[in-house]
């Protein structure tokens, strides 16, 4: 009973401390509002404004129509190039795609013969070149079919209907906005909980508290509760007001289920932050430690590139030590696919288990840390 009261008293103290930290409050506000919006609209893997060059050695009506068919928003307006200039420019990385139309292209086709188009792809643009080439090919072939006239149009013998579930227009913003939320929670919880412990050690206040009838787990839990509560609240508000309200991303799943999962995730990240803090001697070392952890956790969470693309050993290792991939698949399940508890409970259990392990390690390290 007294233990709960102590946690409550210390949590109030943590909240008061956070309330005085103006810079941190501004940062939290920024990352959950402007930053979510900025990142969702910035760099993405969407094919957009792709740079295209055209080597038109045919200079015919058809070749002009083909060139005109390469249009925004997917493509930047194509630039006419000589073959030599094209090779040079592609080497210098100025064009991702160069379409080469050979001399006599239109003439050969009108004569009923065959003709060949070549698309040179800068395959070092791995996130855009593949899909970009597919779309460009489609656009060009559609244009040629239209030019050839309706009688030749029906070349395909199967009518394919694509149904994109959960994101009908495959808008990347739907994805990045939610993943950015997860990323914010990861970064802020690690830094907030970790630095609050280090700050207390550097100022000697933790020693002071431990002389009182307070047990280490009460201190650890109060830090996780206070910071976790703030970050969880900010995240939910951001999801409802910024992501759903302002950016118009539909949030279809069960909100209570998502809040529960997010709560577990916040607890896990808070514990890991504390754990890192017990490994560092001072703020500088904590910074050196936490930055690689943040980068690796984010990049290997499935929020950036698909988990399936990783080698099996790495995927297994990451799923064993990092709560982030579990939360990403939890969040995708609940928010996009409207999955229920029965579907996502294993991910939630995994995150909870990691939180428990981290908290136990923190408490085990506490004494060591204090004697240092």
């Amino acid at each position: 009973m007294q233990s709960l009261k102590n946690i409550a008293a210390l949590t109030v103290k943590e909240l008061r401390a956070l309330a005085r930290d103006r810079i941190m409050l501004v940062l939290i506000l920024y990352v959950f509002t402007a930053a979510v919006w900025l990142v969702s609209n910035a760099a993405s893997t969407e094919v957009h404004n792709l740079s295209v060059g055209v080597v038109d050695e045919d200079q015919s009506q058809l070749s002009a129509r083909i060139t005109d068919a390469i249009q925004a928003p997917m493509f930047a307006s194509p630039v006419a190039l000589t073959p030599e200039a094209a090779a040079q420019a592609q080497k210098a990385g100025r064009y991702v795609l160069v379409l080469s139309i050979p001399p006599g292209f239109e003439r050969d086709l009108m004569a009923g013969g065959t003709a060949q188009l070549m698309l040179l792809v800068d395959a070092t643009a791995v996130a855009h070149a593949g899909n970009g080439a597919t779309f460009l090919r489609q656009a060009v072939l559609t244009e040629i079919a239209a030019w050839a006239g309706p009688q030749a149009a029906s070349t395909s013998s199967v009518d394919v209907v694509f149904r994109n579930l959960y994101n009908p227009n495959l808008s990347p913003m739907w994805f990045t906005a939610v993943m950015q939320l997860m990323n914010n929670v990861t970064i802020l919880m690690l830094i907030l909980s970790g630095s609050s412990l280090i700050r207390e050690r550097e100022h000697g206040t933790i020693e002071h508290v431990l002389v009182m009838p307070v047990r280490p787990h009460e201190i650890a839990l109060s830090k996780i509760c206070a910071n976790g509560g703030v970050i969880l609240g900010a995240q939910i508000l951001s999801l409802l007001l910024v992501v759903e309200g302002l950016m118009g991303v539909p949030v279809t799943g069960s909100l209570p289920l998502y809040v529960t999962g997010a709560l577990i995730y916040v607890l896990a990240m808070g514990s890991i932050g504390l754990l890192l803090a017990t490994l560092a001697q001072n703020m500088g070392q904590f910074g050196l430690l936490v930055i690689p952890v943040i980068i690796v956790m984010f990049l290997l969470s499935g929020a950036m590139t698909p988990m399936e693309s990783m080698p099996d050993w790495l995927r297994l290792a990451v799923r064993l030590v990092s709560p982030a991939p579990h939360f990403v698949s939890f969040a995708q399940g609940v928010l996009y696919r409207d999955a229920g508890l029965l579907t996502v409970w294993p991910e939630m259990a995994a995150i909870a288990a990691m939180a428990l392990v981290a908290v136990s390690l923190v408490l085990w390290r506490f004494r060591k840390v204090l004697s240092a």
Binding site: K5, A129, T205, M212, L288
Partner: protein, 903 residues
């Protein structure tokens, strides 16, 4: 002889606080001049202004005949001044050995090896440090650190020696030795002037001239006798108090310790038996035992690092002793015992209440944690606020309060729950004499009126005299215990201090031999002025390397960090979409439908999936995220095909991750089109389409993600890690205080920055070769460029990225700010606008400009180009020039941003 320093109308402010107010003062030359006064009266500011390490705000400071407000004069005067900042060994490098520290200072003054060797040998001998040339400075005792600091100050034969509180926290024997040593040096070099400050008034009696300071003003100056006369006090401390304005002199009644009522047979409050505490192989406390009866004021005397604080922490239960045990009121204490904690009030060394909470909030928090019943809380807090005269400050933040009041607040907090024992760790360190008296009156009241047992540590001798009993601790051992008068009688000395010095001298044996018996002979100065700049640059590079090699966490981050990040990111960031989970809902079950489904599983992009039983299963498994793509073939598909109709099929794509969905769609379309064509060919159509569309993947024929991502990740890592390392290296010096050496020696800003940058360039460049080899070997990225050309550009690139870190360090003040600011500012443009994921050619103009304003975008081309595009010298010249421009710009800006003088 004129004054060595003349201050005229000097005023100095930190924000709204005035540290010095219109000070006009002549400091006499050729003698031992001292500033006296408690913490925060402006002593350090005054000395820093005289040393030229702090920027003058108003007024004039003339030192050794030159105007310190003018930069050329400062440059010419600096080599004649030695400045030792406040704090035990704060200008020393703790991981460097005694010799290495002195070597470094010698190099800063451009001394060659022979001269340094001669000077170092002479100084070590004179200070008695000669047996420990290879001991790291951080492992020296407080007194030895001060001697080493002094050696480093004397290494260039200064004409003015400025020592800011050199003896604070040092044991009385070492303190006496230190001043003897100074006297000896002065005897050898009579022309040398010394300006010093001390918080121990009794020490100041041996100085030739004193200036007493209070609240930024000099309230009196002259010889010690003059001051005593002016103040009309028996001791300097009494005189000092009398010189203060009348309203601040405090209670004139002398401080009297009434005799302690006999506690009779009551159990002792504290009984410690054979306490021993070891940290690794270091014994901090060695077999300490004592018994403290209830109501006693027990003093604990000793230098910094002698084990006082560790002993106190064991008594509070903060630390569990390695051996030995403690009983409080006859009850055995264990570390998890919450009941015994209710009996203890603790005040740690330094301020340890929450600065973010107001005075009242701090008290409330403590009341709740000590489980004071809610009804009693408010009255008790009001009572304590009244008792400790804190009512006016109740809603202020502790940080805004003067040190004396803060200490009173800490005591108020410690007694809030009416503990039976108070454990106070150096509660009066740095507090002015008046506030110290107020504090002691409180303590005496608590002991005599309320019967509280007080265990207090101090290094003020006059405070020790006020205790019922005192003990002297040295190097983990208790050397002497008893009532002050008893100890003085036992050693037949006049004062307690003399008694302690005798005990210490006996304990330290040879280390306590009188110093200065060897002469401080002048060593002729060589003058390699032209080479001096190079020597100083090399000195910083050498020292930075040594420090880095001895700091495991930084070294690990610098060496292993890039490799770990490279491997995880290289494997983790992949745009290869393979083994997509795939399922078929075949409601037709014809040869045609099976053929179509097989077309999917035939390519590696789709993993074989179990057939789906019905639409419900399809929907359920899509929902679980089990399927990335599902194919639905309706009944009659085969028949329709055979009849030449175009039947409809559905492809369900999981759109949760748009990039994967988009790619999966492209693959699916390809498979379906190929199947259609195969059927057409089988039906006898021409094998050739009218238009064949050939895709040619340049530079990366297999279209493997790693071939492009790995060289780009190389770029990202070589931006991030070297920048953070370099940023920390400068900010660390600001944080630990060693930046004072840069300010007080002739080293220039470019020498300092370049010297510190060189080791990080070397490490980063070494890392580049490791990463490049891993890219080729582990990730199998082909290398088609010219390796040496690539390496050369990489060298320029890491020069730029370390330069960026140094630029960041010029406007950050703490290591943590440097780490985060550098990471955030470097990562955003490098990840988003440097071609890591989005090709720079497709960026809109603002993004493109942001990317090109950082080195990353330029090196991304170089790295990808050298790996897979066959870049040669001619392709690298332009980016190399741009990168060199970045490196020079960053260095230039960092030089402008770094201040040679503190504000």
């Amino acid at each position: 002889m004129g004054p060595v320093a003349r201050l005229t109308g000097v005023t100095h402010r930190y924000g709204a606080v005035a540290a010095l107010q219109d000070v006009t003062l002549d400091i006499p030359a050729g003698c031992m001049a001292g500033l006296i006064g408690p913490d925060g009266v402006g002593k350090s500011t005054l000395m820093a202004l005289v040393a030229g390490v702090r920027q003058l705000q108003a007024g004039q400071v003339m030192v050794l005949g030159g105007d310190m407000g003018r930069a050329p004069v400062r440059r010419a005067t600096a080599p004649r001044i030695a400045y030792m900042p406040q704090g035990l060994g704060r200008n020393l490098y703790p991981t460097l050995t005694v010799r290495e520290n002195l070597d470094f200072f010698g190099l800063l003054f451009g001394q060659d090896r022979a001269e340094r060797d001669a000077r170092i040998a002479m100084l070590l001998k004179a200070t008695g440090l000669d047996p420990f040339p290879d001991r790291p400075a951080g492992k020296l005792s407080g007194g030895m650190k001060q001697k080493l600091s002094l050696c480093s100050a004397l290494i260039h034969d200064p004409d003015l020696l400025i020592l800011d509180e050199p003896t604070t926290g040092v044991d009385p024997l070492s303190r006496g030795q230190f001043w003897d040593l100074i006297d000896h040096v002065r005897a050898q070099r009579p022309g040398m002037s010394v300006l010093t400050a001390t918080a121990y008034m009794e020490e100041a009696d041996r100085f030739d001239w004193l200036a007493a300071m209070d609240a930024g003003r000099v309230i009196a100056s002259g010889t010690p006798q003059d001051l005593r006369q002016k103040g009309g006090g028996k001791t300097l401390e009494a005189a000092f108090i009398n010189l203060l304005p009348a309203d601040r002199r405090g209670d004139p009644a002398p401080l009297i310790l009434p005799p302690r009522p006999d506690s009779g047979d009551a159990v002792p409050a504290i009984e410690a038996r054979h306490l021993t505490m070891r940290f690794g192989d270091f014994t901090a406390v060695d077999d300490v035992s004592f018994t403290i009866p209830q109501g006693e004021i027990f003093g604990f005397l000793g230098s910094n690092g002698c084990g006082k604080s560790t002993t106190m922490k064991m008594l509070t239960g903060l630390l569990t002793p390695t051996q030995g045990e403690t009983e409080l009121f006859g009850e055995h204490m264990t570390s998890g015992d919450m009941q015994s904690r209710l009996r203890i009030g603790y005040m740690s060394q330094g301020f340890s209440l929450y600065g973010e909470l107001t005075v009242r909030q701090n008290l409330t928090l403590h009341a709740r944690l000590y489980a004071i019943p809610p009804a009693d809380r408010a009255p008790r807090i009001a009572e304590v606020l009244r008792d400790f005269d804190l009512q006016a400050e109740a809603d202020a933040l502790p940080e805004s309060l003067p040190l004396g009041i803060r200490q009173r607040l800490q005591l108020a907090v410690a007694v809030l729950h009416r503990p039976r024992i108070l454990i106070l760790d150096e509660p009066t360190s740095g507090v002015d004499p008046v506030a110290r008296d107020v504090f002691w009156r409180k303590l005496i009241g608590l002991s005599r009126d309320d019967g509280v047992t007080i265990f207090i540590s101090t290094h003020f001798m006059n405070e020790a005299e006020r205790c019922d009993r005192i003990s002297l601790m040295h190097a983990g051992k208790v050397l002497e215990v008893g009532a002050p008068a008893e100890i003085v009688a036992r050693h037949r000395t006049d004062t307690l201090e003399a008694a302690f010095i005798e005990v210490l001298a006996h304990e330290m044996g040879d280390a306590a031999r009188p110093l200065g018996s060897e002469g401080i002979a002048p060593v002729p100065t060589q003058n390699p002025a032209r080479l001096a700049a190079l020597i100083r640059t090399r000195a910083y590079a050498w020292r930075e390397t040594l420090e880095l090699m001895r700091d495991p966490i930084r070294l690990f981050f610098a060496l292993a960090g890039p490799v770990i990040l490279f491997i995880t990111m290289g494997f983790g960031i992949s745009f290869d979409v393979d083994r997509l989970s795939f399922g078929v809902l075949d409601q037709d079950q014809s040869a045609e439908s099976r053929g179509l489904a097989e077309g999917f599983t035939a390519i590696r992009q789709f993993a074989e999936g179990a057939p789906l039983a019905g639409p419900q299963e399809l929907a359920a498994r899509m929902r679980q995220g089990d399927l990335s793509l599902a194919l639905e073939i309706p009944d009659g598909f085969g028949k329709a095909l055979a009849q030449g109709e175009a039947p409809e099929i559905s492809v369900w794509v999981d759109g949760a991750m748009p990039f994967r969905a988009e790619t999966a769609r492209g693959y699916a379309l390809g498979v379906i089109q190929r199947a259609a064509k195969d059927r057409a060919v089988a039906a006898g159509a021409s094998t050739q389409d009218a238009v064949s569309f050939e895709l040619r993947f340049l530079f990366n024929q297999a279209f493997k993600s790693a071939n492009a991502m790995v060289p780009s990740i190389l770029m990202l890592i070589l931006m991030l890690i070297p920048a953070i390392m370099a940023a920390i290296s400068v900010v660390r010096e600001k944080e630990t205080g060693t930046i004072a050496n840069f300010r007080s020696t002739p080293v220039t800003r470019p020498e300092f920055l370049i010297g510190k940058q060189l080791p990080y360039i070397a490490i980063a460049w070494g890392g580049f070769w490791v990463l490049a080899a891993l890219g080729r070997g582990l990730f199998g990225v082909p290398f088609t460029g010219q390796i040496w050309a690539f390496g050369a550009v990489a060298l320029i690139y890491v020069t730029a990225s370390t330069g960026f870190g140094q630029l960041m360090s010029s406007f950050t003040a703490t290591q943590v700010a440097a780490v985060f600011a550098t990471a955030i500012i470097a990562i955003i443009p490098t990840v988003n606008f440097s071609g890591l994921i989005v090709p720079t050619s497709t960026l809109a103009l603002p993004g493109k400009l942001i990317g090109e304003a950082f080195p990353g975008a330029w090196f991304q081309q170089v790295s990808v180009g050298s790996f897979v595009k066959g870049y040669g010298w001619q392709d690298l010249v332009f980016p190399a020039l741009v990168l060199a421009g970045f490196a020079l710009t960053y260095l230039g800006l960092a030089i402008l941003g770094l201040r040679k003088q503190e504000r």
